[in-house]
Assembly symmetry: C2
Homo-oligomer: 432 residues x 2
C-alpha cells in the first residue's frame, strides 16, 4: 500500500486507501462545500479545485463546478467511473511519490488553506436526500425480534427469505452524526394486557438504537424502468453508518397495520463521510444469502452472489453522562441476507424511480449471539434483562444524557477504510 | 357571489370562488411556471406578474419572484395570510366590476398572452414534494378492509380511533393527473393456502385505485418542535385529489411486518390544481370524529372539532378502452375520522419536521355502503364479486387500457370550488 507525504495516524479510519467524501464548513468559511477526509484532516475540494488542483485530470475539469455545490449530489450524479477517477487522482496527489507535488504537497499556501484539521470542521449532511427507504436485511435481527414477538417457530415471516422487506422512511429528519436527539413524546400503552386498550401520552420510555449501514444512490432510473440486478451497483455512490433511532413503545402501539411511523420519524443519524463503493471493493465478502441464491426469483439473483456484501467490523459503544464508555456490541456487516444491489433491484422492479441522493438503509445488523446485537431491544431480551455497564450501572433502553456511538471499519492498521463515528446524545423530552 | 368579465361555464370546477394554483407550460413557452385555473383558462402568473399585474397589491410586490419559479414552493412558503391576499386580489382582478380593468380585462395584449385556454396547457406537479406521508383516516375504508381480512369483530385495530394511523410513502413517484400508469411487476402468492408459501414473479393481477384527498404543507417546523393542533391549519397550503394506486396481490405478500412498499411505490397520481385552504373554508363540515373528540388525547383535540373536515362530493368513474364510462362510486370527504390538522399534530408530536412541499394523504375515502366505496377491493368484496360496467362488461380489478377518473367538487352551479379530474390510464406491464 502506498504511503502519504501527509502524516496519517495508523489508527485513522481515513487512510490513503479510503478517501471518503463529505460536506464541511468552518468558522472562517461558513459555506458548506465538498471535502474528503484524510487522517486528521479534511481536504477542502472547493479550495483545491479553485486553485487548479484537478488540472492534471483533464477528463474531470469540465465538471469541477460539482465541488462548488453545498451537497455532493452533483458529484454523485456524474456516476461511478468519475468517482473512481477522482478518488484515484486524489490518492495520487496525496501519496509520497506523487508526480504532482506542486498541486498540493509543495504549495504551502494551499496546504494551509485547503488541508483543514478535522477538529476545526463542521460536518453537514453529505447529500440532499430525496427519498429514504429502510430495509430489514439483517437476518439475525429479524429473527431475534421475531422470537421476542412471536416465538421461535414463527419468528420470520413467510416472505422474509424471498424478498428484501423494506419500508419508506422519513427523509426530512435524517441528521448528521453529532446532532443531539430529542427523546420523542407519543402514544404508548402502559399496560398492553388491559382491556380496553387505552394509550397514554408520554415521553418514550423505550428509546433504542438500530445499528445499520446505508447506501446513497448516485444515479437514478426513470419511472417505469426497473434497474436490473446486474446494473444495480452502478447506481450506488457509497455507504455510511446509520443509527435508525427507534421508540419501541410508540412502535408497539402504532405499527399495525401499516408499519412504524412516529416510532422512527423523529431522527435518523448518519456518518458524515461517504465511503465510496470502490473503496469497499477489496472487502467483498460472503453474506448470509449465498446458500439460498438459487431458489431466488431471477430478478434478485446476483452474478457475484457469493460476495455481495462487505466485511465491515461494526461496534456499538454506550457513553453515559458520567463519561463511562461500555462496548455493548461487536458485529459484522456480513450479517445481511440481502445486498444493496438486491435492494435496488427489488425497490425498482415495480418501476419505482430512484433519484440521486436517495438513501437505502440495510436494516439492523446483529450477529447470532449476545455481544453481537445491533439494538438494545435484542440485548435486553425485549427489555426484560438489564445490561450491565462498565461502571456497574444498568440499562434496558437509553436514558437522557446517554450517547450512542457506532463505528465501522474495514481492513488493517495503516490501511483502514473506515466510516468514523455515528454519534448522538439523548436530550430530555419536551414537556408538552 | 360576484361574477366575472370572463365567460366561465356554470359547470366549471374553477369558478371565481375557487382560484386554484398550479404549474403550467405551453408549446410556445415550455418553461414551467405558476398559474391559476379560471373557467376554461389558465392565467399565467409569470406573464401577469411581469406586466405589473400585482402593482395594486403593494404588500406582495416584493415577493413576485415566487411566480418566476418552476414550482409553487416559494409561493407556498410565504404562508397563509399571503395566499389569502393573493387569491382575493386575483378574484378582484377577474370580477365584473374590477376597479383595475387596465391590469388585465382591458389590456388586450396581456389577455391574449396570459389567459391561455386550458386545453392548450400542459400541467406539471404543483410543488416539489419533499416527503410524502399517507394516512388511513377513512374510517369506513379501514373498517371495510378490516372485515375482508379479519372479519367484522376485529375489523379495526385497537389503535385506530386513538391516533391517525399513517405511513411514509414514496415521494419520487407522485405524478400529475394524465400520466399513464405502468402496471407493476412483482412477487405475488398465486395460492396463499399452499405450504410452503412460494411466490411467483408476475404482473400485478389485482391493480386497484384508492380515492383520497391530500394536503400540501406550506410552512414546516424545525426538527424537535411539534406543531400544536390549533396552529396546524397555518401549515397547510391547500388540497388536491389523489389516487394512491395499489397492487393488492403484491401488498398481501409483502406487507408484514413493515407495511406496504412495492405495492404502492410505482405511482401516485394527484390533480394539478391546488385548491387553497381559504377556498375550502365555506365548506367546513362535521366529520366522523366529532362524537369521540372528548376521549382523544389533548394533543389531538381541535377547537373546531365539529367542523374539521370538508363537504367535498367525490366520484370515481371507470373508462374502459372502448370508451364506455361507468360511475362506480359517489362519496364525500366527510367520511374521515381524522382531519388534516390532526394528522399534522400527530405527525410532528415526536418532533418530526415537515417542510414546504410535503404531501399528506388522507387515506382512502369510502362511504358505508355499495356505490360509495373508494377502492375496487371494497366494491368487489375483496375480488369475489364482479362489478358490472355500463356496457355489460365486468371488472374485479383494473385491466390494461382502463382509465380511472376521480373528481371532487364543493358548492353549487356557477360557484363550484372543484378539483378537476385525477386521471390515469393503465399501460400493460413490462415483460421482464
Amino acid at each position: 500500500m502506498a504511503t502519504s507525504w501527509l502524516s496519517i495516524p495508523k489508527q485513522s479510519p481515513f487512510s490513503l486507501a479510503n478517501i471518503p467524501f463529505g460536506i464541511i464548513s468552518t468558522l472562517s468559511s461558513p459555506s458548506p462545500r465538498p471535502a474528503i477526509a484524510i487522517g486528521d484532516y479534511a481536504l477542502d475540494l472547493f479550495a483545491f479545485a479553485s486553485s487548479g488542483g484537478f488540472s492534471k485530470l483533464s477528463s474531470f475539469t469540465p465538471h469541477i463546478d460539482v465541488f462548488a455545490q453545498p451537497t455532493l449530489n452533483a458529484f454523485a450524479a456524474l456516476g461511478r467511473p468519475v468517482h473512481r477517477q477522482v478518488r484515484e487522482y486524489i490518492q495520487t496527489i496525496l501519496k509520497s511519490d506523487t508526480p504532482f507535488p506542486e498541486l498540493l504537497q509543495s504549495n504551502d499556501t494551499l496546504r494551509q488553506s485547503a488541508l483543514i484539521p478535522r477538529a476545526e470542521v463542521t460536518n453537514h449532511l453529505p447529500l440532499k436526500i430525496g427519498d429514504y427507504t429502510d430495509f430489514y436485511a439483517g437476518l439475525n435481527h429479524a429473527y431475534n425480534v421475531g422470537v421476542l414477538f412471536r416465538g421461535p417457530d414463527d419468528a420470520l415471516q413467510p416472505n422474509y427469505k424471498h424478498l428484501p422487506v423494506g419500508y419508506h422512511g422519513r427523509a426530512s429528519s435524517v441528521v448528521v452524526s453529532g446532532t443531539p436527539i430529542r427523546r420523542p413524546n407519543g402514544q404508548i400503552l402502559l399496560n398492553p394486557a388491559a382491556t380496553p386498550k387505552l394509550p397514554t401520552f408520554s415521553p418514550c420510555k423505550k428509546l433504542d438504537i438500530e445499528l445499520e449501514l446505508a447506501a446513497f444512490v448516485c444515479r437514478g432510473n426513470s419511472l417505469g424502468e426497473p434497474i436490473p440486478i446486474n446494473e444495480a451497483e452502478d447506481h450506488l455512490f457509497g455507504l455510511v453508518l446509520m443509527n435508525d433511532w427507534s421508540a419501541r413503545d410508540i412502535q408497539a402501539w402504532e405499527y399495525v397495520p401499516l408499519g412504524p411511523f412516529n416510532a422512527k420519524n423523529f431522527a435518523t443519524t448518519i456518518t458524515p463521510w461517504v465511503v465510496l463503493m470502490d473503496a469497499l471493493e477489496p472487502f467483498r465478502a460472503r453474506g448470509l444469502s449465498a446458500d439460498s441464491a438459487d431458489s431466488l426469483l431471477p430478478y434478485l439473483r446476483e452474478q457475484k452472489a457469493a460476495e455481495s456484501v462487505y466485511d465491515i467490523k461494526l461496534e456499538f459503544d454506550l457513553k453515559t453522562e458520567n463519561g463511562t464508555v461500555t462496548k455493548l456490541s461487536k458485529t459484522n456487516a456480513t450479517n445481511l441476507l440481502w445486498s444493496f444491489p438486491q435492494m435496488v433491484a427489488h425497490h425498482t422492479v415495480t418501476g419505482c424511480n430512484l433519484n440521486t441522493g436517495d438513501l437505502l438503509g440495510s436494516g439492523t445488523i446483529s450477529g447470532a449471539e449476545k455481544g453481537t446485537l445491533g439494538s438494545l431491544l435484542e440485548s435486553s431480551d425485549g427489555g426484560k434483562t438489564p445490561i450491565k455497564l462498565a461502571d456497574g450501572e444498568e440499562r434496558v433502553f437509553l436514558q437522557d444524557g446517554d450517547e450512542a456511538m457506532l463505528r465501522g471499519v474495514c481492513g488493517k492498521e495503516g490501511e483502514y477504510v473506515g466510516f468514523g463515528e455515528c454519534v448522538g446524545k439523548i436530550l430530555p423530552a419536551l414537556k408538552l
